[in-house]
Point group: C2
Chain length 402, copies 2
């Protein structure tokens, strides 16, 4: 390790309610609690719902939450104001984007994805294809084969930018350009990108982007998802999940669906007001933060971690790309006894996670991590490996959520 | 009015955080805040998410919330334990049920509903039909024409039991029997039934039931929806919204979807943990309550209200069925100046709501309403009408959510 870095002055640890002494390297799975959240949610419960009841919808802007919160996420993914809305789960948003994409390419039958995509995206594509029953096929190739697999029969390319296991990162601009040159619609899942790496949906001109908000955006367990559609395209889409809050006049209670203008048409049902209040408060930690600074700090921390682990833990083998520009904001290592080793590490208050068959994952989130955390994580991991602390029956049994 | 009733001993007003002096007759739109909710949600935020972070999924049973909360709702709708799951919004659950119903009747093309159904159910049916593009048609008839409209070409009958405007209630057993005799699949939307009237999904043998939880179940704004599927049927259904949490082994991260056994396969994405925690706490108010008692008290309160209003407000005309067995737990009146009259009433702390073109709605929820509330509501409404308090420009402008 190379002595103290500054993490470029963006450490905002004081804005998070992190347990004393914990090194939390799992913000790529569930971000920690921002201090602003409990009070904001308590206010919505008591001063809004409790005190104003049904009037809360008008008095406290609950109905506009999806757009308001979408506008907080938009700058983090390079989207203009008014082009992102919130709700449901990421899986539902994948369905919406893919359904729209296939309707834009009615004469094509291939959905192209890769084996590094998160399984739920693949499952949702499978489910939609079976429901449509029009001969679509889900074609899954290795991540590095995507560019050459984009042929003229591909209706939609559905990719998660950053691989949830290895952190390998696709080049959004390059792949979007290849997809569109072949006439395919591009859908990006930004679950491991939003708040993790600079994203420019406008610059790459992708048709759709979706993502979750409980990882790097710290919205809490079950925080709602987001969806972006390219503004020049959105008004041409007939939503398949045509719920009343995507209607042009939901409170006119018309019997026939008329889609709202703009991204509002990708809303479905009643917004999850408490979860959105938590997320809105959580997003306040991004005030004045530039994603370029976050990225620089993330790379500095990750490089420091890799160097430290490779020096101290020869049994671990880097699973992430070595070149930082090819990684998202996580670092993964292969280790045969990875599950037990991670349990031993967690028992020492250094929190990462494990993905089968042998991957130890560590997320780097410069808003609340600094060099001292990285050094402590390296030291603990070195101790776990050197002293074979993983070789303990207490760490062998797998819990349900790993 | 006939002197004090007892409301049969089920008033549990002390379990709700109702503003002093307010008569809340809008629990059919958004239930009030149960006192147990803020502490439960604060605990999940701080002692679970904040303190245990990613470990919360295992330590605090977040992943099992949908089944646990479903098991609290099941007895309120006559469903067995393990047959109800939670998540998403009611609109999404309508899509899931209807998509499954159509796949069970691949040779039929009619979706039958009525003009009293909540618009979002109709919109979701429209969206699904357009997405499938296989010649399905949504046939909408008047509510009283449903029995005769159930013909042998009907794939699915999709009805909301209780009309959101008038409170008119379908006979679930009778219509389900007619539907099934014609070979159609029956889907009940219980948005205005669960917690309002006794429901017996097992007894009527309907294939599917769905509902929301922010009305009579008091789960808070944006509380998640529920879905029930008949246990003998569920394992034959291939879910269209095949998200990872409906997978048989979500944490095996397989690339191919394999549905979980039972109702779990109708889960989609990550559960909304904060909203589910609020709902779980809210459902504690039902401990030891029988729906038969609630129904008897609701009828007593509603009859008292109708008698009082009809005696004092001759300009109002009952929009609900007069026979209590044909109504849900709300009473509606037509009044030409209904919107302004409702605003005047609300300004006097008696809260109902309005539905175009001229309907004043009042919900009766015996867990937190008693005869004194009804008498006060009648007296205020009488004053608003007698003194033409509605004839005030301040009450003319319509707010967005009415």
């Amino acid at each position: 390790m190379d002595g103290p870095l500054t993490t470029l002055g963006i450490t905002r640890k004081h804005l998070f309610d992190l347990p004393e002494g914990l090194v939390y390297l799992d913000g790529n799975s569930l971000g920690p609690l921002p201090r602003a959240v409990p009070e904001a949610v308590a206010r919505v419960m008591q001063a809004e719902w409790g005190a104003d009841l049904i009037k809360g919808w008008n008095l406290h802007g609950w109905m506009d939450q999806p757009r308001r919160v979408g506008d907080l996420i938009a700058p983090l993914i390079g989207a203009p104001s008014g082009s992102v809305t919130m709700g449901d789960t990421l899986s539902i948003k994948v369905h919406q984007a893919l359904s729209a994409a296939l309707s834009l390419r009615p004469d094509r039958r291939i959905v192209l994805s890769d084996s590094g995509n998160f399984p739920s995206d693949l499952y949702m594509a499978e489910g939609l294809i079976a429901e449509l029953d029009r001969g679509h096929q889900l074609r899954i190739v290795a991540p590095e084969e995507i560019p050459e697999a984009i042929s003229e029969d591909v209706a939609a390319v559905l990719l998660t930018q950053v691989d949830y296991r290895t952190g390998r990162m696709h080049d959004m601009a390059e792949i979007t350009q290849i997809a569109q040159a072949a006439g395919a619609v591009m859908i990006w899942d930004l679950a491991h990108s939003a708040g993790a790496v600079p994203v420019d949906v406008t610059g790459c001109a992708a048709e759709f982007a979706v993502g979750c908000t409980y990882k790097y955006l710290n919205g809490g367990p079950g925080a709602p998802a987001f969806i972006y559609a390219r503004p020049d395209l959105i008004d041409t889409i007939a939503p398949a999940l045509s719920g009343w809050l995507g209607h042009a006049a939901p409170f006119a209670f018309e019997t026939t669906y008329r889609p709202a203008g703009g991204i509002e048409r990708l809303r479905v049902g009643t917004p999850p007001v408490l979860q959105l209040a938590a997320l809105e408060a959580a997003l306040s930690v991004w005030d004045g933060v530039s994603m370029a600074e976050v990225r620089a700090a993330s790379i500095a921390l990750s490089e420091r971690f890799i160097a430290g682990v490779e020096a101290a833990c020869p049994d671990l083998r880097l699973a992430s790309p070595r070149a930082p520009e090819q990684r998202g904001s996580q670092v993964s290592f292969h280790f045969e006894h990875g599950y037990a080793a991670m349990q031993a590490l967690i028992a020492r208050d250094v929190i990462g996670d494990f993905r089968a068959p042998d991957i130890m994952r560590f997320g780097f989130t410069p808003l609340y991590l600094d060099e001292a955390d990285v050094d402590r994580a390296v030291a603990c991991l070195a101790e776990v490996l050197a002293d074979r602390l993983w070789d303990n029956p207490a760490y062998a049994a797998r819990s349900r959520v790993t």
